[in-house]
Amino acid sequence: MQLRDTPDQQRFREELRAWLRATLPTLDPQPSQDDWPARRAHDSHWQALLHQAGYAGLNWPAEYGGRGATPTEHLIFLEESELAGAPYVGVNFVGLLHAGPTLIAEASPEQRERHIPAILRGEEIWCQGFSEPDAGSDLAALRTRAVREGAGGEHYVVNGRKTWTSHAEVADYCELLVRTGPPDGPKHQGITWLIMPMDTPGVALRPLMTAGGSTEFSEMILEDVRIPVANRVGQEGDGWRIAMVTFAFERGTGFVSEVVWARRRLVEIAALAREKAAWEDSQTRRRIARLAAEFDALWALVKRNVSEAEHSADGVPGPGSSVFKLRFSEARQHLDDLHAEVRGRDALAFDDELCTYDGEPGYERLRSLAYTIAAGTSQVQRNIIGERILGLPKEPSAAKGGAR
């Protein structure tokens, strides 16, 4: 049981630090959250720089253009990038964290060849078409229909409605879950995973404005969208299993940088509290300290999870990631509330017109509303812990019932 870098890890960390020190000053400032073309350009440029330096697809296998780094090196990368103030993965989120790993695990050689190198170079942006207005936590209840058409059945014709489609405005492709089985069949069967080019006729977007005023998400309306059967990943009807592969990756590493961010933000809050004399209030001071303990423990839990993933057969993060997701989301919301409390009435006055830039405390506080909801609600995480880890019986109704 130890936390220190091995000599190899230390070398990796030092090289990365030196590269970040040299590279970050050459970047333009982060564009406004609502300027989507500028965001795409900014994030793609960063991804291209990572690719040139050999840091793209860090934990992906070398045979698919990744670096084949260990989970611990991946953790070091996320930690150092955050400490250095490097850009987030941004609009490359779905490509690098969802679609890419899924394509590596499940796609055909032609599909991999077509997409994986482009994702790694930052040339191809992906979005996610999973959730629907009536299929959120109960994702398997999705109803977007795909029907085979054409002389040899060479197209799926897709009709339906997707929601929470992050980065849809700038995406080239969508990882799309559709129902190919009968609407009243067993809901976990009959789901299929498709690669949908976003410029296909019949795809319409309606931006959803969040409580913070950003247009991070969209609703996506699909009307008679024709998708070649060759764009199917895996077998028809096997999409649920394939989607689950994606989720395991998301819960494992999706929030790691944010723990580092949150811990630094807490030090800023402590400094602000000292400045504003809120530090003299023992209740405020102790709440800040209690939260520091929570984030330090979460960081330790990340290291435990990563160490276990490094030595597991498949490298997929273990069930400890649900504990992490549950506690981190709640701690993150406490952090933003505490920040507002220390700022006092200043927290009611936004300095930016739309209040939508990363790090602005008012925006972060509103954005954090989604933390206990996105990527599996806290209630779903508790079900996962209760059922998959502790072996408690399922709710009787969850096992049966059709797609409707």
């Binding site: 049981m1 220190r4 330090d296 030595h311 209760g386 502790l390």
Partner: protein, 343 residues
């Protein structure tokens, strides 16, 4: 980095668990109400654990110990917590690296922190061979700042009254009615700080054991107990209580293991520039472990329903011990203040 427990650490924990399994543990279901004076040290258990070497974990091999670190100690103490092992385990394990005659576990050493202003309650006084006391000595000139030191006191010479009904029926208490104490100075302020910090770490590990075993008991009961025609663990209201118990114990264990490793690294003189300070990490561990043990005890009782409140179900033993330990080696307010100094 490899933060997983090593095979040797797991083997040590397994050996301690085996020994504990051969003795009856407080809090197991079906226990009768204790008669007066039933609590105190289980001498046979103490002897068996001493033979295993648990008091000399951090004593060098040349001094008759195992020559290991905090990372191993916390594994031992989590096992003690799982079985509510009763006796001055923490204080004796703290005294052993300081005073090597205690490494073999032939003596029982107690601990008292007299730096605070509150009335002093001492545990297991009648069973002790020695008592280590942390105290602040007044400065000689009026208004001079005092200094903290560690004193070894002969328990038999102390004037103290037995508490008729300790909340935790297993741990006999005495109220000290003597000040100042006479004894031999065995450490300075630095020693006192180290004792308090290491005591907080071992206590936190013990609390993790309580939190973990209570999760297991609540889950087992939720699977077996049926109401409304199905196992109560299938209801989300109960399932989510259990999930939160698990999350609390896991997070607290990660904090305890991290603090143990950081303390060992600090002692070995490793550069810790990238790592949080060990002292703050110990305080974080104690905070989270106290919360986990106390809250999980309440949740376990809740999952067991009315039976959870009975003597014979035994869960009250865990709650009472968790309460007592949350006041040992620094309480929440003291540890949060300590963390806040590092921010």
């Amino acid at each position: 980095m490899d933060f997983r427990p090593t095979q040797d650490q797991l083997a040590l924990a397994g050996a301690v668990r085996d020994v504990l399994g051969k003795h009856s543990a407080p809090g197991t279901p079906g226990q009768k109400a204790p008669e007066a004076g039933i609590g105190g040290v289980d001498v046979a258990l103490w002897r068996d654990l001493a033979e295993l070497g648990i008091f000399g974990v951090r004593v060098p091999e040349a001094g008759g110990g195992l020559g290991l670190g905090h990372a191993e100690s916390v594994h031992v103490f989590e096992e003690l917590g799982r079985c509510l092992a009763t006796g001055p385990f923490t204080a004796t394990a703290l005294a052993a690296p300081l005073l090597p005659e205690y490494a073999g576990g032939r003596h029982r050493v107690g601990f008292g922190d007299l730096t605070g202003g509150e009335p002093q309650i001492l545990e297991h006084l009648d069973a002790l061979d020695a008592l280590l006391v942390v105290e602040t000595v007044e400065g000689e000139a009026p208004g001079a700042v005092g200094h903290t030191q560690v004193l070894r006191v002969e328990p038999i010479e102390l004037r103290a009254d037995a508490v008729p009904h300790p909340v935790d029926p297993c741990v006999p208490l005495h109220r000290l009615r003597q000040k100042p104490l006479r004894g031999e100075i065995v450490g300075d302020a630095g020693t006192a700080d180290a004792l308090l910090r290491e005591g907080a770490l071992l206590t936190a590990a013990y609390q993790v054991g309580i939190a973990a075993v209570l999760t297991e008991r609540a889950v087992a009961y939720a699977k077996q107990r049926t109401q409304f025609g199905r196992a109560i663990g299938s209801f989300q209201a109960v399932k989510h209580l259990c999930a939160d118990m698990f999350a609390r114990a896991e997070l607290a264990r990660a904090a305890v293991h991290s603090a143990a490793v950081l303390l060992d690294d600090e002692a070995a003189g490793h550069d810790g520039a990238d790592l949080p300070a060990a002292a703050a990490a110990v305080s974080a561990a104690k905070l989270l472990a106290d919360e986990a043990a106390v809250t999980n005890a309440r949740s376990a009782i809740q999952v067991h329903g009315g039976m959870g409140c009975t003597w014979e179900m035994g869960l009250h033993f865990h709650l009472k011990r968790a309460w007592a330990l949350s006041m040992a080696y620094g309480r929440a307010a003291e540890h949060t203040d300590l963390i806040s100094e590092s921010l």
